[in-house]
Symmetry: C2
Subunit: 447 residues, 2 copies
């Protein structure tokens, strides 16, 4: 039996992920030592408020208030950053990397910030690991799959359901035929949505993950502010019902698509997904990432995207990797990121679903169709809903629908820019009371 | 710019996977060099018959008939074994490992044979990689996910749809309400089933993959002859129809379950899977592996399980890994396998669906129910099908069903051994014409 080495771990943060990380590392120490080839010992847990009571997994003797000291402590071999956010965590991660320590983090905001690229460069230039399996899609072993297993693969497109809250809301709107506000209130009651749900429902959380996916899938440095982002707040029952009626389901997708050599589209938007697509079956708060590779074909990875324990599982996997690499004097593959052009969404084509509330009188449909035609947007199908249903639904949303008709269009493939121009012109027609929604429909043609 | 190193690759085999492997390594050389940190150069392609014409991806100048020379050639750094089977491939892999060369293989039969354990030990003792991402579930990055990402995870159960042919057959029986023989003939016509489909439909291919999964998920050495294996040849339209009617779908699952400390059940059998389970949506020839971990929760990996190009994609991923590890002087994690007790299936419990053809007269149901009761197998529900439907379906299968009734039972959780004893006793009742099928129903209780 060979001599047992010890890898000493400094944890930054004492919250919902940190506690189970410390718990797993301590409770499963024996098994993990076999995997890592070394004993993994948590030596510090740095928290903002040392006086605050901690869960039983975190022994009081390990707790310190001095995170800045932990990251440069020569008695710490690996730093695990679970603070989140950019302002506090950023300088700490930077200091740890500069001190030559591998860093494991679940911090999507930091990785997707403009500073993320600098931190990745810093890790590379110091020859240490910066691992972040838990930052996208929680427990799903996505980052390693893309960085290692599919490393020889030319990836065409990645589409992910990467925000559990919005997927839960959309699932309930579909299954219960319930309005957005009702399912949001229920999700907040269950703790599945924040009291201020903006970061989730406006798509910003998914956008950060899209930026990270662009890096691990395509090797491009993209930051969250480069992601074209549309959330789910405009989705209403008639959209969900139309999707269901036509064999689709509305999903908020984070999408990274290769458009040309050195050019990608990175965006987040609600999408009508066909029911027989693997992503359509991803329900409730589950996450999934669908990958299309030239050789591998279609792949999907599915699992829990959030929650303390699942996220902790991914963090612990990274800690083992960091420890193994440290002992072997190597690092996980992290090829240098390449420069990239972000394709503006306006040039991308897809079929669109468009919902309009219009005045219920002759001639309106003709005027509307003329606007579509004037922008070269070809209509594939149109249906008009009964005034009764419209009155009921709009009434429930506090709008007066008397004298109105609802028009539901599906277009042939059209450029996003042309559709946007169509919608703007439609909005200017007096007979069009409301451009209620416009959603892309999968599949769209290969770029 | 640092000096470019070259890793020289010897490929064994010139078939449907070898050709695209050679093709990808040559066509994508520039990208792959970035990933691997070295130029990957195919230097030999060893084939059984040098005279046989090869696809254009394989340059004639690389072709040799002397595989034994390739594996010991000092000019070869990494050996890629794509011959398949045990007798020829086994000694070649052994020789390569003994010569200190990393081996990448897609050979499930070899890995699941009793010799597989020896080869893994040999690789470990020589400090070289033996990588086999492509051996289970083709392009799905499963092995690396289980060996690395989930390395800190205590896995409870792995259930996989790992045979594309049988999943295609079951999907078509379900979607087209077509008999087994008809969908098999169609699959053979499309090249999705072999002319002799036994290895697929009897479950042997899935059993080899189950044995490999027991290794990568649980760290146990299991060989294919230790896997309890039941194929799909007994599945008939009434079973598929019953499944559909009750919100299930029949899937052939390879299952590895932790039963106790140091004890697993490893088996392959058709199973009634609830329609809302992620595995239920895996259609046609796609594969998927569903993993349940204590911390990570439910995970599923989905993709193409076979085909030359998808399999080649996984092989190339391994080649890059082997090259990187070789240059870094390390290997992929391969903890020593632990001894294991294989739990006999008789003690495991699940709900069962049982289909009987019986004489259509009073008293028979009572006699049948008494047999169930005598073995402590409790009946949850029973239905009797119309004689017309029975006559139609049995007639189509060439059986005379006049005077018969069909009984469909669902049991409460019962031990497999007790169910087997029940079926044997039922078979001995003169009024029971045929014990047509008995299938387990997901979910079953946590072992």
């Amino acid at each position: 039996m060979r001599a047992v080495r010890t890898v000493r771990i400094g944890v930054l943060g004492g919250g919902t992920v940190a506690a189970p990380v410390v718990g797993l590392l301590r409770e499963r120490a024996e098994d993990l030592a076999v995997q890592a080839g070394a004993r993994l010992e948590v030596v510090h847990v740095a928290v903002a408020d040392v006086a605050k009571p901690r869960p039983p997994e975190v022994p009081a003797a390990l707790v310190t208030g001095d995170a800045a000291a932990v990251v440069v402590d020569p008695g710490v071999d690996v730093v695990v950053e679970l603070i989140g956010g950019v302002d506090v965590a950023g300088p700490l991660v930077r200091a740890a990397l500069e001190a030559g320590k591998p860093v494991v983090t679940a911090n999507k905001a930091l990785l997707a910030s403009p500073e993320g690229a600098e931190l990745r460069s810093l890790a590379r230039s110091h020859g240490v690991d910066l691992l972040y399996e838990a930052a996208v899609a929680g427990a799903i072993p996505l980052v390693r799959a893309l960085r290692q297993s599919l490393t020889g693969e030319r990836i065409v497109r990645v589409m992910g359901i990467v925000n559990g809250t919005t997927n839960y809301l959309l699932t309930k709107m579909d299954e219960q035929d319930a309005p957005y506000v009702a399912v949001l209130a229920e999700a907040q009651r269950l703790g599945l949505a924040e009291r201020d749900p903006t970061a989730d429902v406006a798509g910003q959380d998914a956008a950060a993950k899209a930026a990270i996916l662009a890096g691990v899938a395509f090797g491009y440095d993209v930051s969250v502010d480069q992601v074209d982002c549309e959330g789910i707040t405009a989705i209403e029952q008639p959209d969900v019902a139309f999707a269901r009626r036509t064999g689709h389901v509305v999903k908020l997708l984070a999408i990274v698509e290769r458009v040309g050599e050195g050019s990608v589209s990175v965006r987040v938007h609600p999408t009508l997904v066909p029911r027989d697509h693997p992503l359509a079956g991803v329900r409730d708060a589950f996450n999934a990432v669908f990958v299309e590779g030239e050789a591998a074909g279609e792949l999907m990875l599915y699992g829990q995207g959030a929650g303390g324990l699942p996220t902790a599982s991914a963090v612990v996997g990274d800690v083992i990797d960091a420890a193994r690499n440290l002992l072997a004097g190597t690092t996980a593959p992290a090829p240098e990121r390449r420069p990239v052009r972000i394709e503006p969404p306006s040039s991308l084509c897809s079929r669109y679903y468009v919902r309009l509330d219009v005045e219920d009188r002759p001639g309106v449909l003709g005027a509307v169709a003329t606007v579509f035609g004037s922008h070269g947007v070809s209509i594939s199908s149109m249906e008009q809903e009964t005034p009764e249903r419209l009155a009921d639904e709009e009434g429930a949303a506090g709008r007066d629908a008397s004298g109105l008709a609802r028009l539901l269009f599906v277009t042939h493939e059209a450029a996003t820019g042309d559709v946007a121009a169509t919608l703007a012109d439609l909005d200017a027609i007096p007979a069009v009371v409301r451009v209620a929604n416009a959603l892309r429909i999968l599949p769209w043609e290969r770029r």
